[in-house]
């Protein structure tokens, strides 16, 4: 099996860590090493990274958190604090070594020859200046042009990044722009100086999937128009497959593999590359199955796939549903003026009805602001709904008193998105897991300790970790701890609110597998709230798609994914990046639009909705 000879561009990273483009490079990085000063000396976080990047070419650096991918881009731009970091090696650009330039010369390179866009469009614009002014500023900093010329150029740039009505939005402020539109503004600013290299550091990670598709399209189009080289930093293999000509896989500071994107995807050599790729959820990989499917696991030493354990059918569809939700409505009033008059309401959840059976996973998918999280919180009554009926295990949740509600919470538990925030930093994990048991007076301290130890083992950790504190654990481990804590009360339903969204791809696969295992052994019902279509396809029995507070389509997972009926479901699925390099350079040609707002004036009554049945149990809204 000699793969290297088949593809001359492919280098196994362990030998050289080096990859070359077909044309003359715009920028060449050689033996880049970055170290940070820590309590006990210098710590090497990026080791011997070398690559070239040519005009019109996109190189992706892909890796999970802590792999050093962002540090690499910050090192090239020399944006790390000088006193606490050390950068060695060579970054050749325009015949000069960027690493040996004086700081003033480097400043002229930044935002001029090399521009950068970041992950968080919400915080990278200054809120007190208008958007147009900020772009104009980027223009006047590096060139001598008049204010009028700068304004004209700024409007041209806003048009270039396809912002509708650019001229009239020139004087608007960042808060009047949505996340996707702000990212467009950031790109316009980055393009202001016609850079030769654009460094994009996770530019679509914080965006919704339909918006992400639009931004990826935009970057591709602009690259064709301007002939820039693009260095794309991301953790998302789907995005890599879509944008990158060549890919560098980083793992704990090393480039473990580098080569053409096709080679990396189809003929990856390093076990880590294979593990990473097998963990990537792919939309449409279920092949006609009705039941959920575990994620494949890969042995890190050999790179061989471990055979998948089959998942048995756990759904008790003949019994009464464990969770029944009928016409659930949650609205938040908007008050304004001196007397706090109601001026409108956010119709976060509107007439949502569904059932969840024992041993079943029902996923709620949708984009930010669609009301999926509010639905989860309303069901557990963390938020008090405006109307509707929620029945858990035969008990009407809406009618419970505060103390009865606390008792009810034993049957329905939540897992939250951010594993760093869901544990009290000042409490050992042992106490955190034992706490619910003791608070509900379910037994003695010894019993609590025994049960906590048992559950820690069950979620894949070890019982002797009980004395440690949350900061000693990684994100995936913390999420396991949060799951163990939720299991302490023997719940029947678990509401998992984006429970795997913040995790790295390999960890995400493991936590999903853990949830499937727990469902198998404990017959748990999951209300799985997520924006990630590919993960949802993998883990659920049934799926509900939400849009602007309403369910637009609900049904068995296979029916919804293989035969989507509602336009929004189709649009959502089309927008998911596919981890297949063959689809690179295919543009979606999506219409530039923003997510609509669920804010309505006082007295607004939502229209009565009709649902049509496409197949048994598969309903979609008639619009």
């Amino acid at each position: 099996m000699n793969l290297i000879s088949e593809s001359p561009m492919h280098y196994s990273g362990q030998e050289t860590g080096f990859t070359a483009p077909a044309r003359e490079p715009v920028m060449s990085v050689r033996n880049l090493n970055t170290s940070f000063r820590t309590g006990d000396g210098w710590k090497n976080v990026v080791r011997n990274i070398s690559f070239d990047i040519a005009a019109r070419e996109t190189v992706a650096i892909v890796g999970e958190s802590g792999s050093g991918k962002s540090v690499t881009s910050l090192s090239i731009m020399r944006l790390l604090a000088a006193e606490s970091s050390r950068i060695e090696g060579q970054v050749m650009f325009n015949g000069r070594d960027l690493l040996s330039l004086r700081e003033e010369d480097m400043r002229r390179v930044r935002g001029n020859d090399i521009s950068m866009i970041f992950q968080e469009p919400m915080t990278s614009l200054n809120p007190i200046f208008s958007v147009g002014k900020q772009i104009a500023e980027a223009l006047t900093v590096h060139t001598d042009i008049t204010e009028a010329a700068a304004k004209a150029e700024a409007i041209r740039l806003l048009e270039k990044v396809r912002i509708p009505n650019a001229a009239s939005r020139f004087d608007e402020y960042p808060h009047q722009f949505s996340g996707g539109m702000r990212q467009r503004v950031m790109i316009a600013m980055a393009l202001a100086s016609r850079p030769k290299v654009l460094i994009a550091d996770e530019p679509t990670t914080a965006l919704d999937v339909t918006i992400q598709g639009q931004i990826l399209d935009l970057i591709k189009t602009l690259q064709d128009e301007e002939g820039m080289a693009v260095l794309f930093i991301t953790h998302d293999m789907g995005v890599v497959a879509e944008v990158a000509d060549r890919t560098i896989v980083m793992y704990r500071g090393d480039a473990v593999e580098a080569g053409k994107t096709e080679d990396i995807f189809h003929r990856g050599q390093h076990p880590y590359t294979r593990a990473l790729l097998s963990a990537v959820p792919k939309l449409g990989s279920m092949g006609g199955r009705d039941l959920p499917l575990r994620f494949p696991t890969v042995d890190m030493t050999t790179g061989q796939q471990v055979p998948l354990a089959e998942v048995s059918d756990t759904v008790a569809s003949t019994k009464r549903p464990i969770l029944e939700v009928k016409d659930l409505t949650t609205r938040f009033h908007i008050r304004s003026g001196a007397f706090g008059r109601k001026t409108g309401a956010v119709h976060a959840v509107e007439n949502v009805s569904f059932e969840l059976f024992e041993g079943e996973t029902l996923s709620i998918v949708g984009e930010s602001g669609c009301g999926k999280s509010t639905t989860g919180r309303s069901v557990t009554r963390l938020i008090t709904p405006t109307g509707g009926k929620v029945t858990v295990d035969g008990q009407d949740v809406m009618k419970l008193s505060q103390s009865a509600l606390r008792a009810m919470r034993r049957s329905i538990q939540m897992i939250f998105q951010d594993p760093y925030a869901s544990l009290n930093p000042r409490m050992s994990i042992g106490s955190a897991i034992m706490e619910p048991f003791l608070q509900h007076r379910l037994g003695t301290k010894t019993e609590a300790r025994d049960k906590a130890a048992l559950l820690l083992e069950k979620v894949g950790l070890s019982a002797d970790m009980m004395a440690r504190f949350p900061h000693e654990f990684s994100g995936g481990q913390r999420q396991r701890i949060a799951i163990a804590r939720a299991l302490m009360l023997d719940p029947k339903v678990i509401v998992a609110d984006e429970a795997v969204s913040a995790l790295d791809v390999s960890i995400k696969a493991q936590v999903c597998n853990l949830l499937l295992d727990l469902q198998q052994s404990l017959n748990l019902a999951f209300l799985f709230i997520s924006h990630d279509m590919a993960v949802v396809e993998r883990v659920s029995h049934r799926v509900a798609v939400m849009y602007l507070g309403e369910i637009v389509e609900i049904g068995p997972r296979a029916a919804v994914f293989d035969n989507p009926q509602h336009d929004y479901t189709k649009k959502l699925m089309a927008a998911v990046p596919v981890p297949d390099p063959a689809r690179r350079r295919i543009k979606r040609n999506m219409v530039v639009e923003e997510l609509k707002s669920p804010v309505r004036p006082v007295g607004y009554e939502p229209a009565l909705r009709q649902y049509r049945e496409a197949s048994p149990g598969h309903l979609y809204r008639v619009d």
Partner: protein, 292 residues
């Protein structure tokens, strides 16, 4: 396959970053040292003091500082140094106890208001706003005048004036904590509100409160001295710093030491507490810590 991405770089449990930052800040040691000195002096006053602070000696009336009386004597012939040392006990006791009461009551109110929110929050914060709009001294003066001057009443008066700021300081981080997932998780796990406030909110906002406590203790010592100066302090002949300034004020032109030494004592105590408070704040606020 374990969590191979990050789990291997788990840091060992280290001492609190606040303590480490405090240890690095040399200026903080000045505050801690000064404060320790004053506390020691107050505790061991009966042993260190060369004379009985209440013993009058008409023969040595208003004698200037000398080898026998380092800080001179007052108009009754009492030794100023001894009175200062004993006065430290009153000042520190009133400062400490009043702040303790204000801290407990104020933080409880602030946490409750922040956690419960709604109308209760509006009422509590309305009262806090009214109390904050009075100058501390005026409020203390009114309460002290109403209750009558005594050691206990003085503590109550000063505690009342300082409850409002603690309520305000505790409320803001409580609201921030309330939105944190682990508090929300606690609610979904069916914990009682009291348990959440005590176990999950209080320990996480305690550091903010302690910083404010050290700054307001300085203010309490100043208020005590001011009240004593206008005659609403602990009654004579007990030695207090404010009271000594008041008594010495009549002879300020002929006997400067009667006013200067107690003033210096107040200055040092307030300075020590302010330095400590600032250092604590710097140590706790991560924004200033990284540069420390």
């Amino acid at each position: 396959m374990t969590d191979f991405a990050i789990s291997q770089s788990m840091p060992a449990r280290q001492s609190s970053p606040v303590l480490r930052a405090l240890r690095r800040n040399r200026f903080a040691w000045l505050g801690i040292g000064l404060l320790a000195l004053i506390v020691l002096v107050a505790i061991f006053a009966p042993i260190i003091a060369p004379y009985d602070p209440l013993k009058q000696n008409i023969l040595h009336r208003l004698s200037p500082p000398s080898a026998d009386f380092w800080f001179g004597t007052d108009s009754y012939g009492r030794d100023v140094l001894s009175r200062l040392l004993y006065g430290a006990r009153i000042s520190l006791a009133i400062g400490f106890l009043s702040v303790l009461i204000a801290m407990v009551v104020g933080s409880a109110l602030g946490i409750l208001a922040g956690y419960i929110g709604g109308v209760f929050d509006q009422i509590v914060m309305g009262i806090v706003d009214v109390m904050l709009s009075f100058p501390t001294l005026l409020l203390g003066l009114m309460v002290a005048a109403m209750l009558g001057a005594s050691f206990e009443n003085l503590i109550i008066a000063i505690a009342i004036t300082e409850t409002a700021p603690f309520a305000r300081v505790a409320r803001a981080p409580t609201i921030a904590m309330k939105r944190r997932d682990f508090v929300e998780a606690g609610r979904s796990l069916g914990y009682t509100p009291l348990h959440i406030m005590r176990v999950h909110i209080l320990p996480n906002i305690l550091s903010d409160i302690v910083v404010v406590a050290s700054l307001w203790m300085a203010s309490a010592i100043r208020t005590e001295a001011s009240l004593a100066f206008i005659g609403l302090g602990v009654l004579p002949p007990t030695a207090t710093w404010g009271g000594m300034i008041r008594e010495g004020f009549d002879n300020i032109l002929s006997a400067w030491w009667l006013v200067v030494f107690p003033s210096l004592a107040i200055l040092l105590a307030v300075l020590a507490l302010n330095i400590l408070g600032d250092a604590l704040r710097d140590a706790i606020d991560p924004k200033t810590r990284s540069q420390g």
